[in-house]
Symmetry: C2
Subunit: 390 residues, 2 copies
Amino acid sequence: MNRDKGVTGPAGFRAAGVAAGIKANGALDFTLVVNDGPNNAAAGVFTTNKVKAAPVLWSQQVLKERKLKAVVLNSGGANACTGPEGFQDTHATAEKVAEVLECGAIEVAVCSTGLIGERLPMDKVLSGVDTAKASLDNTVEAGLNAATGVMTTDTRPKQSWKAHEQGWSIGGFVKGAGMLAPNMATMLSVITTDADVDKDTLDAALRKATSNTFDRLDVDGGTSTNDTVLVLASGASGIKPAGEDFEKLLTEVSADLVKQLQGDAEGVTKEISITVTGAATEAEAVHIGRIVAEDNLVKTALFGSDPNWGRIAMALGRAQAQIDPDQLSIVINGIRVMDKGTRGEDRSNADLSGRDIDIIIELALGQGAATILTTDLSHDYVEENSAYSS
Amino acid sequence: MNRDKGVTGPAGFRAAGVAAGIKANGALDFTLVVNDGPNNAAAGVFTTNKVKAAPVLWSQQVLKERKLKAVVLNSGGANACTGPEGFQDTHATAEKVAEVLECGAIEVAVCSTGLIGERLPMDKVLSGVDTAKASLDNTVEAGLNAATGVMTTDTRPKQSWKAHEQGWSIGGFVKGAGMLAPNMATMLSVITTDADVDKDTLDAALRKATSNTFDRLDVDGGTSTNDTVLVLASGASGIKPAGEDFEKLLTEVSADLVKQLQGDAEGVTKEISITVTGAATEAEAVHIGRIVAEDNLVKTALFGSDPNWGRIAMALGRAQAQIDPDQLSIVINGIRVMDKGTRGEDRSNADLSGRDIDIIIELALGQGAATILTTDLSHDYVEENSAYSS
């Protein structure tokens, strides 16, 4: 994977990231990604939160056509819980982009991230569209600026790009550091491809890829009001890949973006992988992995480098899933600390001093398996989230 | 409420709390409560966790008879995930108590709390029974020692006692500071009464009282492997109260014990009450209250005294419940910060600098209402739970 390129890696795309003045500190806060075609197929997945931000409501409507000319994104404000006025702001933003790009507003998706409950400074947003339009380019720099313009508590821009040997490629950026349990966090991602993929194939591939990547990261259980992943296909390579080839590469790029989200999560000191095997179903494996990933007693123990498997057993015992405590085994960094319902090897043999922690939970009931990525609960997490209004 | 008396407040009960040597530091770690009758009705509610400790499995069996002579409790070890051997340890403890009290093991409930996954030092447990038997008394001091013997990370013993004007009373103790979301945390409570209450009335009253008190405290979502609340009725007052009078006083004493759990929770700096009104059903109100209570972004914001209502809206939007975002209002310490789906009064008017925070979530859909008690997520919470193996 190449992390130096992103949305402008594939042919047929231009992007820009500019300082529109939404953020008081003058940082980049406004991003525009444009698909120059020849195709304009697109697909999107959105937050499952019942409280949805105005840009999510707008983009869900727009994506019904599965055609996009452009995506406009801002940091510095989520435009969530802002009522009908907030929705009008989103609409006006799309209209302005449509005007400068000479397309329809229905071809423009909108994404926002930042504090919930505040209106956006629309004068700055609208002039930002003009500035961004003037900066559009297909360069590596333009892609990096686009990835930077959406950052909130992220410490670094996060991009991924990979080419297929057939001559087409997939690239994208992602932002997100807290409120991060994408089911479909404010987690925003725009992915581009120059493959010639029709809209139905694109939609199916995106749903499959996100369900196995974005949907399996759970930092803090906080599915946001604004979570969005969009994929845009320009067809500029002129190559029509096989469906499974496209889905495979899209999953790889998505997984790499998710790995970067995990590594840059708020207060992270441990990158934790929780694999559940032998569950009754895959859905139960995912549910059990999430229950453990979200448990504060597990997360604080791991921050303390303590292989406290009893807390893992406690946490998963709360799952709405089939569990036989007498069949349950837990392996932490290769040490089988719990074996068939009771104490296994001495837990002090499990060395958790490093950054990576690998937990395997064996239920020994069925064939269901899944891996959930999460992070620990550290002092820095508490500090960032008690001091920063997001 | 009188917090100086507990299980020995009602007539017909003796108790003891001794140092059996289970804890290395020599603190009190072993408690015995004995019902001297004339009656021996009892009822219990237990953890809903699928991974249940040996003493829970034992006590659930014993309580089927709804008759108890005694309850024996230890701190310093949960006896959970200890396999058949752990269950035999519990059984042997009950047998030893039955021997010294000259009753049947079937009349002895057992409770344990401490680290999960370690066997108990049975020589110390068994000699502890003898020491405790020799210390049994009906004094205030004996009750206080009993309440102290079950403490783990608790900073203080927690008792409550109240007399009914008719001449009978209810008293009890509780322990618990983390892994605390009793649905039925290691949260242990023994409640006594000298009312003449039959076992069916006692059972019904306990279920009703706990569902409205213990089950509505949610510090960290951590329903433990060992949660237990037991109530024992001696009938020693000779007075048979009306069912509703008994249930009302039992609920009051339970609520006072729960308030003390909240106030002594690990790392607590804020005592937070979340009231949900206008839900479709009471069950949905409870579910929504719990989702908000368990949300780390909400908990860290409140630690920072930040009335960040957007995080509350985000958290509850994840609930599996009927929600209309446009009807949603949020009141924090008297300030209506969110009104019918959008920003209300300036949130800076909500002063959260004190210890008590009162949140009201108005759904405006139906008649369902519930209040959940929780605490904030502080640096001390992270410190205690990353440094202490519980």
